[in-house]
Structure formats: structure tokens, C-alpha cells
Amino acid sequence: MALYTLGAGHVAAGIKSREFSAEEYVCQLLERIEKVEPKVNAFVTVSKEALERARAIDKMIRDGEQTGPLAGVAVSIKDNICTKGIRTTCASKMLELYVPPYDATVVKRLQDAGAIVIGKANLDEFAMGSTTEFSRHGTTRNPWDISRVPGGSSGGSAASVAALECTISLGSDTGGSVRCPASFCSAVGLKPTYGLISRYGLVSYANSLEQIGPVGRTVSDVVSALNAIAGTDENDHTTAGGKPAYSLQERKGLRVGLVKEFIEGADLAVAKVINKAVDTLAGQGCRCEEASLASVQYALPSYYTIATAEASSNLARYDNVRYGFDLSPEGYEWNSYFAKARSNFGEEVKRRIIVGSYVLSSGYYGKYYLKAQQVRSLLKRELKALFKKYDVLIGPTMPILPFKIGEKVDNPLKMYLVDIDTVVANLAGMPAMSVPAGFADGLPVGLQIMADEFQEQTMLVAAHLFEQAAKMQRSPEL
């Protein structure tokens, strides 16, 4: 039996009942990684301690010790989430040699639940991108068609899950970075309500927008990960109180709103799959209607204004003084050293730092940043009103199919446009997820489901209902 195909629940149960050992399972995964990585390139670093951890879990079980709900489950962690002792590069030259002295809260919580970090997943540099092409570690390729992008910026996370290189992954989602690659790789990816999951240890790109989110092959796996990591954290003032527990319950008669603007902006091939998904939901007793989100037209400019502004400040600390990469300061005055060191950011990161510095500069703050914040409030108000009428809002996660590597990389504006459907949830701080909806021309299409703040349970009910009815194929041939 190929253990690496199993879901998180089966893995933990199998290891606990000693049907198979964590060591066997991890060994299979490491072999799988070795086999498919040359094609997929989902990992920046494969953990050297994973096997050791697996053996420790096995020993705990042999000794009759209590193990967590994710006992032995292998997870990949996006390489912008800090892992103590494992280098965390953000796919950037700037952090090439950086080994964090602490674990992110989410990593600690996963490990407390018994999970094993199997490696660090590839991403666009500092999570800035929608394709994983902007990685110093090279492009991750879509497991369904390795000539195409896996989406981004958590491309490594979604690809590693889809390519059966791990069971669950954690990504981060600032403007769609978990949902976009989940959609392109036919995986389930969830961005929670702002404040549900601690960001302590997530290398900031745009603090007010981003959340860490799980990626899995099933809604069930995503729920397992979410239950392990969600909840208040004393190390992050922006987390909400409480510790939620989600389940795969059933609910009849969900009120579903199909966001008209999202469908209208989508490619025909994508729209077809989504319309079929609506039929599937209706077939399950959901009441589906068309809904309109008029201010969506302001979403993208607002998103890129806020994200770049925050990024320009967040990334200021990378001056190579305290950590970073090998560059001797000999012969530099500090200003020129900073300039020299910081010239090592990639093109896309530089672009966003420059744009962000511009929108924050004196005289422009009110014109851009404040205005963008007003759009956030507007969007939020409009969505709140819609959620009085609907339990969930749906639409395509991505307006287009996974495209060819290199196709948009030289045209930043075109690239930014693909985030149109996903940035809304980040701006409003509301939860959203992508579930596999089907295929067009053999390429995955994701269904995006959004819900009101802290209504993850409702969103998961809808996702599970759809997943059960749609019965999608999960893994590509590699």
C-alpha cells in the first residue's frame, strides 16, 4: 500500500494502531520526494530530522504514551514560516543563510499535535507573486502539467500536497496565495478569518492582510490542520480569543450566493466548470442565487496599495547586518553597504518595495493608502450585507486556467489581474477557501467559497457537501 496517498486521519490512525509505523510512512514519502522533486521542485529544503522525529513518534506509541491527533502526519511548511533549526529563506537571496532560533506558533502547534515537518515549501520570493516563478530556488511546476505554473505564492505547498510529497501543508495567504495554488493544483486550500491563526513566526509581507492557511487533498485534512493551529496566541496581539474546533457536520438548505462579477470576469472554460458546480450544490438542496458585489472593481488597486505599502516597511529590516547571506562589509560605508546588500532582492520584490514607498511618501498617504483603507471598509460593509442573505458566497477561485511558465512573468500588471477574485477576502478579513471543482482541458479549476467573519464552520460544511457530491480525482500521474 502506498502510505503517502493516505489522508491525515488514516495516517494518524494507522500509526497509532501500529498498522504501519511513522518511520515506514516517512520513508515512503522521502522516496516519493526523491522521485518527483526533479519534476515538481516543490521543496526548498527537505528536513534532515523528519525520520528521527518519526522514530520518536513510533517509540512514544510503543511506550504507550499519549500522541496528538496528527501523530506522525508529515507536513510541508511554506518557507516563509519560521522553523527552529531549519533554514527559512523566503526563497530569497536575502535570507539564504537564515536559520531561525524559534518556531512559528503554527509549527509548534502542529508538532505538539504530533505532526512531522518534512520540509520547507517553495514560494515566490517573500510570498510576492501568483505563480512561484519569482523564487530564487527555481520555479515550482504544476504536478498536473509540469509546463505550467502551480499558482502562488504558496506554489510549493499546493504542489507538494498534490504530488503526494506530504499529507498536509501550511501556506500563507496575503491576496490569494493559498487559494490560488490550491485551485491550480486541484487541492483544498483555506484562508481563515483575519486573527484566527497566529502569525507569530510568519515572515511578514503585508501584515494587515495575511493569514497562514492549511492546504490538503481533502476538506477533512484541512479541518485536521486547522483544528491544530487555530486559536488565540499570546505572541500575536492580532489573534482573536478562543480556540475553535471544527467538524465535518452536515447542514441542509444552505443559502448560496454566486458572485456575478466573479463569473463574468472568468474565462469561459472556468465559468463552465463553476456553473456545473452550482448545479451540483443545487442538487444537494442548496438554494443558489446570483449575488452582486459591486465594489469589487476597487479591490485590486486597493489590495496592491496596502500590500506594497506594508511590504516596503516590513522588508526594510533586510540589510544583512544581523542575518542574511554572505557579503563582507569591508570597504563599505553603511549606506552603500545597505544599498549593495538590498540590491539582492528579486525584481518583483524590488518593484513592490518601490511602489509601496511611493504610496506612503508624504503627500501621497491620503491619496493612496487612506483611500485604499476606505475601500476595505466599503467592501467589508457590502459583504456583511450579503452574508445576511447568504450563508456562503461562491465563484471561481481563479478567473483563468493554470498558464504556461513564463507566460506572464514579464507583465506585472497582467499578473496582478489574476488575483481579482481572491484579494476580496483578504481586504475584508473574511474566510475563503478553494475546493477542486473539476477540470477544463485537463487542467484543474477551483471553486472559491467565502463566508462571514469567523464562520469557517459554515464554509467547511459547504465545502464538504460539495466535495462529497462532486467526487473529484485528487492526484495527477507523475
Binding site: 494587515s208 540589510d319 544581523r322
Partner: protein
Amino acid sequence: MESKMGLEIHCQLTGAKSKLFCRCSCDYRGKAPNANTCPTCSGLPGTLPLLNQKAVEFAGMISLALGCKVPDEIAFYRKNYFYPDLPKNFQLTQYNAYGITSIGFEGKLEYGDGKSARIRRVQLEEDPGRLVYEGGSMETSVYALIDYNRAGVPLVEIVTEPDFTDPKDVRMFLDKITSIIEHLGVCDTKLEGSVRCDANVSVGGGNRAEIKNVSSFADVEKAVRYEITRQRTMASRDIEVRSETRHWDDARKVTKESRTKEEEQDYRYFPEPDIPVVVLGSEFVSSIRQSMPELPDARKDRFVSKYGLSAHVAQVLIDNKELADFFESAIKIYSSPKEIANWIVTDLMSFVDERQKEQVRSLFAGLKIGPEHIADLAKLVDHDTINRATAKQILSQIVRTGEMPSHVARKTQAGKIDDAGALAQAIESVFKAEQAAVQDAKHNPNAANFLLGKVMQLTKGRADPKTALEMIQKKLMED
């Protein structure tokens, strides 16, 4: 030509114990470089600021003590600029340009005799790290070392309106501020670098210069005085004063043009996303007001009404918390407030070593004296055990020896040989033993002192030196 001055005072909240956004200690002094740091205050990727509640309370106390309004909500802003002592290359501070977010605003502080200065704002922010120049200064070093031990220490910035016209007032105002923060217990001003001050100076409505790098409050007065003279001289020669930042040269006691020309910086302020707006709530002001220690003005009033001190004496005492505390400790031991206050203000103060006072920032540094000594002294005078002149003499002795006044008095009084016969006998035997000196003493007054010394030696110091000397001189004449 009228001069106008405004101040920016930085005060570390050393009493808050931990840094503003992490759990590291505020007590960074004397620690090994970069030992007092954690991932957060060294700006490691992925760390988030955790606001120190105590620091907010302390900053609230300072605001109230300076007559400021405290808003219902406060927020933090990022001030973005590159400098190697800033671990994140931005400083977390407060900013009022897009609405009030600082802990205090629109205050007013009275000082001196009926003078006052308006306080523009009181804001809470983080201290940067420290650059250490191995060669002594930026000019003479080929490299700098960075110590982040100080990075993140809570700092309160007090900004005044340009309400000062006389450098003397600046000094008085700073004394008052020092006394207030000492009384609040929020800052140990004796620690090196715990209070700093920048000053803005303009003359005759011209451009203003900002003077930085003044490391002691005592020098601020000198710095602004120098700057006013400089600007007046320029104006009298029709040279325009530039709007610029100048540095105080501590060694030469002049202000100097900054070597590196600081252009008008754009700090790209924006609200810190990682710290949600802090809602202080309606209880905040009333609860900190309740927990606030007695302020200098109230203490002065109490000294006057309860202890009957004159307004002047009370003012001198409260101007320096150390002095006021000294006074209150002394009257607890022996309750004679006026007598004790006078001893402290007129006599004890004359022994204060000004140099030591500046260096160690303690009035009584180097003096071996405590409240118990002054209490004891006052008691001796009150009970007529000794007269005032003797008491002064004893004080001058004990500030160096640390002996108790009553002990000194007993030694000299109780042990005194008042029997003239016994003293004469002692002198007689010294004259016999030291015949050469006796002959010498007939012409040389110094030799008489030598004989006195011998007499004192023989009587083990119990002779009254004055009487003994008289008797010696008389005997020399007789011989």
C-alpha cells in the same frame, strides 16, 4: 531680539522593567553586548511586537502629571528610516498628523515662579540600539559596532511648544520635569542616558536650529545660550540663519553644524498593523490617577502646610527628589522639620561636590552622610547639647568620616580634661622630654604646634587643644 526655544525630552521608562514590545529587561547597562536581546527586539523575521501595558500606564502618568489630555484610544505608527542601530529599520512610535494617537496631548506645566510652558504631546516609542565607535567617535573610527541591548527600551518623548524665551527657564523647566519623573518612579534619572534633550532655537522669528546630542540636562542651558548668541551674531551681520540640525560638542561647549547633511527625511509614517488600536477605556485615566504617587507640587504644599517650611525651602527640597526623600527620612527619625530642613538646605548642600553630582547624578555621592546623621545633629542643637557653631564643625567632620554627631560630641566633650592641674602636668612632662623643641619654639610658632601634638598624644586626645595651646604658649613665655 527675542529668542524662542522648544524642547524635545526623551525619558526612558526604566521603571517599566521590560522593553516596550518584548519581555527583555530594560536594565541593559553593563551587560555584554547584544546579550540583552531576543528575536523580537533584534528584529528577526516573523516576530511581532507585544505591547508592554506597564509602559502605557507610566506614559499615561507622565501625561497627566504634565497636564495633558489622554485620549480614549492610542495607536502606534511606524517611522521608517534606515540606520544601523534600528533592528527593523523603522521605529515604532506615535504620530498625530492623521488624528491624535499619542498617549498625551495639549498639556501645560507650571514651573519656577508662575511660569509655564505648553506641552504639545507626550508619546511612547522604542529606543534604538547603540553604535559603539572603537576609535572614540564617528570621525576617528574605521568601523562601528552595534549593540542592540538598548533596542526596544520604552521611551517617552515630551514635546513642548516653543514657549521658552530665557535659557534659565529651560533649566528650571528641565529640573521640574526631572523631579516629576523621579517622583512618579517611572525613570531612574541617575542612570546614564536615561534622560536626553534636544532643543529648538530661533531668534527674532528667523529659521530655527535643532540642537541634538546634548547628553546632560545641565548642558541644555549652555547649549541654547550658545546657540542664541550664535544666531544673534549672525543676524547682526545680516547673515541668514539656516534651518538645520546642529550637534552639541560636549568638549568645546559649542554647537556645530552636522557633518553629514541631513536632508528633509520622509519617514513614510503609517499605522503599525501588528498592534491593534489600544482602547484605554474610561477607567484608564481615573485608575492611573489613583495609583499615581504624590507629585512635586503637592509634596511642596504638604511640606509648607504640614511641616511649616517656608515656600523657598520646600521648593529647594522638592526640586530634587533625593533631597526631599532625605528630608522626610530624617524627620521620621527625629521630628524637627524646620531645623532639619535648614540643615539640609543651607549647610549640607554646601558640601555637595558639583562634579560628582553631574557624573554620578547623586547629590550625596562621595559624602558619608545619611538622614540619621542630620536628625542626630538637629537633636543635639535642639537640646542645647552643643551650640550651632560646634554643630557646623561636627558636620564638616562627619561628612567625610560618617561618624554619628552625638558620638563625636561625646568624645570631645565627655572625655575632656577640664582639670587644669592634670593638663599642666602633661605639658610639664612634654617640655622635659622635648627640650630642643622647646628652645626652638621660643622663636618658631610651628614648633609650638609640634609641642601641642605631643601633648595631645600624651593625653590621648582628651585635652582641649585650644586650652592646651594657650597653656603651652604661656609656659614658653615664662621659661
